[in-house]
Assembly symmetry: C2
Homo-oligomer: 488 residues x 2
């Protein structure tokens, strides 16, 4: 084989072309991978190739060195030769697509058909989205800038995987005072939003095949997290007093984990009654199960004080308390937290340190400062007033402009109202139609694993939608609903 | 029972005390939970209690409303009574610690004894930590501030869970040009650092019990991620040409995942030879296995060009390419990325959207701008020169000042050098002693699942340590080593 001829076509020169050394390396690699320079074959001497290509010998030497380092060639006293390759290695060069096996996990996850909301915060009525345009972005920008200026360079490095001590302390104080949670900073883990906290509970407390209960209808993220841990998922109906657990469930499919949103059931708005809270705590204790209390938006209660957290109801409750700043601050912040039960905190922390890697330290420090200097509670106060006004406006507009028989469920809290509709108005159709008309409510039935006819309705966010827009929006929503009405 | 007497002790007044309404709520809750106000018992009328406590009747009414909302009491025409409770619920009020069952997963994870480095970036010789004091923090601060100013309020909301399009595009361009990776933005997923990418590979591609191979000695984070997915982990020895896979392993414990650091084996510094790369790709194809290429620090090659990525070697290689900005930027940024193989990208993305929740959008947008405007590659260039100088200084100091027989392994790349020591100098003892003396190298044996005698040595980071410090540091390290020498 005339190696020289193969390599001898001139290299590109001039502006826009790669450096010649780089070109030479790429050309040699390509020829070797294509089998044009076969395994064991000798390359031209650097001197000969340099002359042939009219480049400096040094350029060739550097190219050969690079190929040696990457294992394409072997240099010894006899010169430079193409590295020997096994049959399998030669096979790899005949590029064939790999067998596209869909592993079981991917199949399982793909089976969770995505009916989640587009979460397009720019559309009115998006559930779960706070009033982003009201966020004090300049105050946050200044706080962040101060934190970055104050941070010694080491703060750029790896931090404690469970979170910045300053933020854990600030959260512990806040939870004790505002949410009645029994905790101290040593039991708090900073997570990637509430979802990160759920995933951590699954990883920490379950084995594949364990049973997990969740609310029906309920928060889809819990279902994803439980599926991710290969859990056997049992969805239990909620009523006006929250999750209603039939006696048979304890007997027949005793849980390892129980997901619940006791202060403001998502999405029906029910408050878990005291009797059920105490009952749940006691039965969970007996069963060796753990309750996940997802307290996602109870800061915003529009009548009286916020409902106190279940975690603090009795001492040593088997409750993992999950919170998030996605609603109180903004979703892109993606900071959540988990309060471990005292009974397992000391034992679990070393495992958690292995499971998490920390990071986002500047955001955490900024958030800590935001809580400590009172900006967080001032912002909460402003938002509480704003959401109260928006919820009232939405209720008025529902009564005056929807013009379709409906029932407003629970909900004197939070950022959304859930409205049940008669079955001739199929919610998923209405939601699709509403999106075409520039509104983004959720379909109640999409929150259920096995929707019943009573799970037909709309989950209407008011966090991101100004009060004066509801009359017009509700008239449009009525239009959407009427277009989707089924005749029978 | 004299309910009034129980409730009648005066409420605290004056500065520093809680609002009286709050005090009353807490007092009533406590009495109910303690059984002092038994289930079914009637509360005093609001008028009577208000008089008794010398507070306004409205305060009492609000307190009763709150207790009603939280399910502690029930209000009807007969007045306000304590809610009825089941036997189990009453049991919950007798606080007993829950059975502290340690689930199998927690036990398993606790068995991973943490021998990871403290990662205290302020100590010299910490492996894997870049030169934090050299990071252009003001440029980053300005870029972040600009991104925050430019961001419409919607950017505070939920984003695409797989990452900001601008960053995915910037990474795709960078990887194609600088790392020889075959990709486009549609195959890139932004993750919580490299660890998030590993966890995603496990979740996406494996079932519990599947076999995963990793390098021995190797990156401990891979072991954690594989344990987290309940995988059967097989550690395969590395030599001077990288991971050496015995024929029997393919036969007896065929893998689903293979973790490898081909461009700069962590921690030995070996480069996976071309023959082995091609062989690995072909065998993985035949076995239906996926290779995880963890390309954590190969931007910093100190001789010639960076070693090209294995992912781009042949078309359609069954490789998941993992990268991170932890070394090139700073660890607290916690931004990593995964390039999916084309064969599964379209199929896997809908699952990934369910598995991730996105977030940290401002950091992502800042990073995208940093790449696009060239600041990233300028920073890389500066750091490459800096680390080259630091590595050379460390090599010189090892030769001149360690004064103990040793072998410097591989490593013309990255941020650390690995030095093998004779067995009479036990590495974990030396590391402990070194930490007491203010240095933070890693112990080579701690990187191995089942360390051999040849895995005795030190992993010395030079990313965070200035060149002129090495002579003094190495003399101190010699001292530490001599104090730990075993006589036999």
């Amino acid at each position: 084989m005339n190696t020289s001829a193969l390599l001898a076509s001139p290299l590109a020169r001039g502006p826009g072309s790669l450096p010649r050394q780089r070109q030479l390396i790429l050309r040699l690699k390509k020829a070797i991978l294509a089998g044009q320079l076969p395994a064991g074959g000798k390359l031209p001497s650097s001197r000969a190739l340099a002359e042939e290509l009219d480049i400096s010998r040094n350029t060739v030497l550097i190219a050969y060195e690079q190929l040696t380092a990457e294992g394409f060639v072997i240099a010894d006293r006899q010169g430079t030769r193409v590295a020997p390759l096994s049959a399998a290695a030669s096979g790899a060069m005949r590029a064939e697509p790999p067998p596209a096996k869909a592993p079981a996990t991917a199949r399982r996850l793909a089976s969770i058909v995505s009916t989640r909301n587009a979460n397009d915060a720019s559309l009115p009525m998006t559930p779960g989205t706070p009033a982003l345009t009201q966020f004090p972005i300049n105050a946050w920008r200044r706080a962040q800038d101060r934190a970055l200026q104050a941070a010694p360079a080491a703060t750029l490095g790896y931090g404690n995987p469970v979170g910045e001590p300053a933020l854990r302390e600030a959260i512990a104080q806040y939870l004790r005072v505002s949410r009645g949670v029994r905790c101290d900073a040593s039991r708090i883990v900073i997570t990637e939003g509430a979802q990160g906290a759920l995933a951590l509970c699954v990883q920490l407390l379950t084995d594949p095949g364990d049973t997990a209960w969740l609310e029906e209808p309920g928060y889809r993220g819990a279902k994803s997290a439980f599926h991710g841990g290969d859990l056997d998922v049992l969805a239990l109906r909620v009523d006006a007093d929250g999750i209603a657990i039939p006696e048979s469930a304890w007997r027949e499919r005793p849980p390892r984990l129980i997901q619940t949103t006791p202060s403001h059931q998502y999405p029906t708005g029910a408050v878990l009654s005291l009797a059920r809270r105490l009952n749940l705590i006691e039965r969970a204790r007996q069963a060796g199960a753990w309750i996940i209390e997802d307290d996602y938006d109870s800061e915003f209660r529009h009548q009286g004080e916020p409902i106190a957290a279940m975690q603090g109801l009795v001492a040593d409750a088997p409750v993992l308390y999950v919170g998030t700043f996605s609603k109180t601050m903004f979703p892109a912040l993606r900071l959540g937290f988990l309060v471990l039960p005292e009974a397992i905190a000391a034992q679990a922390m070393p495992s958690i340190v292995e499971m998490l890697r920390g990071g986002h330290r500047l955001e955490q420090l900024t958030m800590a400062a935001f809580i400590e200097n009172g900006q967080f509670s001032r912002h909460l106060g402003r938002m509480r007033r704003l959401y109260r006004e928006r919820q009232a406006a939405l209720r008025d507009a529902l009564a005056s402009h929807l013009g379709i028989e409906h029932e407003v469920l629970g909900g004197h809290s939070g950022l959304h109202l859930t409205v049940r509709l008669p079955p001739q108005f199929p919610d998923q159709d209405i939601v699709r139609q509403a999106r075409r008309m520039g509104m983004n409510p959720g379909a109640l039935s999409a929150f259920a694993v096995s929707p019943l006819s009573e799970d037909n309705g709309l989950v209407i966010g008011y966090g991101n939608t100004a009060a004066d827009r509801y009359p017009a929006l509700l008239r449009r929503l009525k239009e959407a609903a009427l277009e989707c009405r089924k005749r029978r």
